[in-house]
Amino acid sequence: MRSGVSTSVGQRVLTWLEAVRRSIWRIGWPATDKDRAAAMISSLFLHVHAARVSRHVLKPTYTFALGLIAGILFLVLSVTGLALMLYYVPYPPEAYRSMKDLQFVVTFGIVLRNMHRWSAHAMVFVVFLHMCRVFWTGSYKRPREFNWVVGVLLLLVTLALSFTGYLLPWDQLAFWAITVGTNIAAYAPLVGDQIKYLLLGGHVIGPTTLLRFYVLHCVMLPATMVLLISLHIWRVRKDGLSGGQAQTVPVNEVAGAFPASTKTYGLMALTTRPRVSIEARDANDEVFAWPHLLYRELLVALAVIVAMHVVSLVFMAPLEEIANPTRTPNPAKAPWYFLGLQELVHYSARIGGVIIPTLIVVALLALPYIDRHPAGSGRWFAPERRLANIIFTALVVIAVVLTVIGTLFRGPNWAWVWPWR
């Protein structure tokens, strides 16, 4: 600071602004790698990432960023959902009216609603793909067993969110889809009717059902989702992303000793002090999260948002006539992700509708504790896991085929139709 010469007004303003900025962001805009890394670990939002990540994390063909896309979609759904909550009224005739108001009155209402619906469908689909990816790369094995369980729970919560949201427009499609869905739930032995009663808030789908589903959809399930997502990502950080070249096998735990961390604390790579971690990590394998990971993630986010916008502008979310309990469409179909289930129910209500799905869910949850063999984790379609992959792929194909049949090949009275006729 030169003395004797007064600083100009402009300079004083800039200095003042700089002070304001520094009170918010304690670190300046990072210019060097060190500053960037420091920013990563000291920021509230950014410290979900480590300062340095393994290089294979950047490879898109390993995970296809499916988990990230699912998370981004959840974010999109939350934002659009909150906006929609300003207009939506969860009471039967008004519910439908608010859908019409969104379509005709609210500025950008159509885009808002379409975004929400298509993002919801996309999320279910992406979460499913994510599960397939995790299986086919064997990433549920030790030490990631519990994360897989959390993931399965997340899948169920996603389906529940989509299902509860499906009813909210209160049109014929919504009403009868939920009728079918809750009727399938009623097939459960012993508790089936109670489950249905609990879901419907009564014996028929009416105002109580709508309110119940609304609260589930907007409060209870999103809260659970946020909790589970946090846990899920936390475990990813702690367990590390699978599939690295230096696939470290955790050291056998010593009784009472805290499990060893597989991550370093980022700055360590730059300092010359001795390492703290037990395992050896190859610094050549790692890159700075900022810019490499961060920028790629932001790109994926932008791509997802742009893609969802395009889809929302091109395809209108369906809205049929107002729900009419006396007029059943023929056929009444469940939401598409339950159509495979409905197809199964068509063959056998109890076995198809209850036993098989329950078995599948239980099998999924128990999977990592049944398949304890550690080999083959971290690679796509590892030959060591051929049997597991075949079984899983077969089940996936069956599920997809059943869903496709239910969507395209079933007409009135659930009779077989050829979709091109």
């Binding site: 395209l408 979709p419 091109w420």
Partner: protein, 139 residues
């Protein structure tokens, strides 16, 4: 490779659902029946209301089509004129005067009675419109 083939198969199946077949234009038999009965179109709403009034109040002497050939016309001296012939002195104002106040009000015989107290202003407007439409049809 397997991933690609699976997606391709899915895409193929989905596209099969989007085929549309061409179909003939659906008919409207009920509307056609009503329109056929209404016959000669070309009347505005006001004119068609006027036509109903004309048939009720005027056609006995002036004829169903206003040609002055109603069933009572032979008893009238002078006979009612042919309204389908357009004349210069048959503008809206004079038509309204005849209808509302009678033919005596425009210096003719008193045989066409005044309807000003039986019909509302809009009804007379409709009648005037129809009378003008009658003259228009001919030309």
């Amino acid at each position: 490779m397997t991933r690609v083939s699976i997606t391709a198969l899915l895409a193929l199946l989905l596209s099969a659902a989007c085929k549309k077949s061409s179909s003939p234009v659906p008919g409207e038999p009920m509307l056609n029946a009503i329109r056929a009965e209404q016959g000669g179109i070309g009347l505005s709403f006001s004119e068609s209301q006027g036509k109903h009034l004309f048939l009720q109040y005027c056609a006995t002497c002036h004829g169903d089509e206003g040609r002055g050939d109603g069933q009572n016309a032979s008893n009238l001296k002078p006979p009612p004129p042919d309204l389908t012939v357009s004349r210069n002195d048959r503008d809206a104002a004079s038509l309204r005067k005849v209808i509302a106040e009678g033919s005596a009000a425009i210096g003719r015989s008193p045989l066409s009675p005044p309807r000003g107290r039986s019909l509302s202003g809009e009804q007379i407007d409709d009648l005037v419109a129809y009378c003008q439409a009658l003259a228009r049809k001919k030309s």
